[in-house]
């Protein structure tokens, strides 16, 4: 018997062959006494091994489950809906904070009322440049910077928590 035939018999004995190979193994067993003896030995060994004892159950399955519970503790599962909720709440908080600290500031440069517009137009006509043509108020910039800083802080605290 060559190694290929031996492998065929081992797989046949193990029940791992497809039908055409099963047929090949059956034909081999029919024509070869050596193959028959080999196959009989395998079956004998299988029967003997089946009688070997397994140890009695020690309850390790239960111990493993319990020890795992102790190890890991109760785990909170965060669902996608929870995550979306947290993200939405964070966004609302950030927006609310921004609204608190960044009040809409009336641009002193841009004339809004009818009287102001007429004053600007009048001054332009008289002087050739706008009366309110000045740099934006530095106080506004400071307040904006402060608001941005607070938002940054708030966001970092939220991420940490």
């Amino acid at each position: 018997m060559n190694p290929e035939e031996r492998e065929l018999l081992l797989l046949f004995w193990s029940g791992e062959l497809d039908e055409p190979e099963n047929q090949r193994a059956r034909e081999l067993l029919q024509r070869s006494p050596e193959a028959q003896a080999y196959f009989e030995e395998l079956k004998e060994l299988e029967a003997a091994a089946a009688s070997l004892a397994d140890p009695p159950r020690r309850g390790i399955a239960g111990r493993s489950i319990d020890s795992f519970k102790v190890e890991s503790g109760p785990r909170r599962r965060i669902s996608v809906a929870h995550l979306i909720g947290i993200a939405a709440a964070s966004a609302i908080l950030v927006l609310a904070a921004a609204k608190l600290f960044v009040k809409p500031v009336r641009d002193p440069v841009r004339p809004e009322t009818r009287e102001e517009i007429s004053v600007v137009a009048d001054s332009k006509r008289k002087t050739g440049f706008e009366v309110f043509d000045v740099e934006p108020d530095s106080d506004v910039r400071i307040r904006l910077e402060a608001a941005r800083e607070r938002i940054r802080l708030l966001r970092s605290r939220m991420i940490k928590s």
């Binding site: 081992l10 797989l11 004998e44 020690r58 489950i65």
Partner: protein, 179 residues
């Protein structure tokens, strides 16, 4: 209830009773395998417990439908291999498992049977380690050669070669045959 159903229900409900039922199906078989591989009962119990813990952690990612037996076997086998690597070598004294059958009408037949079992246990214990693993996985755990090749991370031809060599050795050791 099948293994896959138990896993699915456990993952849905997180009720550990399903997990307990699942693990208890394989506990004795795996413990027997580990004792015969490690030759040490306490080490085998430790390895099995660690294997079960790893299986619990891995269950949410378990995707091999209807192959839980091979999967848990692979985990237990890896634990045994880790333990062997850690302690450097397998302990010398093989652990012989004895059948608990004590009662029966034909006492002499039972004694002969127990003697046969002991002979076979000893013969298996004397096999080279790689061959012993293949024999135990195939004969005791009833795993197909294809699964054994995956667990052992080798080709199926290597596994079949080991099985053939083991069979030859066992036959030589048990010459005269089993009663």
């Amino acid at each position: 209830m099948s293994d896959s159903e138990l896993i699915r229900i456990y993952l849905e409900t997180k009720e550990v009773e399903h997990l307990r039922v699942l693990f208890e199906r394989y506990e004795s078989q795996l413990l027997g395998y580990l004792i015969r591989i490690l030759n040490h009962r306490q080490d085998a119990e430790d390895a099995l417990q660690e294997a079960f813990c790893k299986a619990i952690r891995g269950l949410p990612n378990y995707k091999e439908t209807n192959q839980f037996k091979a999967w848990i076997h692979r985990i237990a086998h890896n634990e045994a291999m880790n333990l062997i690597r850690k302690r450097g070598r397998i302990r010398e004294e093989p652990e012989i498992l004895e059948n608990a059958e004590a009662e029966g009408s034909d006492v002499s037949a039972q004694l002969i049977r127990q003697e046969d079992q002991q002979l076979l246990e000893q013969a298996i214990a004397r096999l080279p380690e790689a061959e012993r693993r293949v024999v135990l996985m195939r004969l005791k755990s009833d795993l197909p050669f294809k699964e054994i090749a995956q667990i052992e991370s080798c080709s199926i031809n290597t596994v079949l070669g080991r099985m053939h060599n083991a069979k030859t050795r066992l036959r030589a050791q048990l010459k005269g045959g089993l009663a």
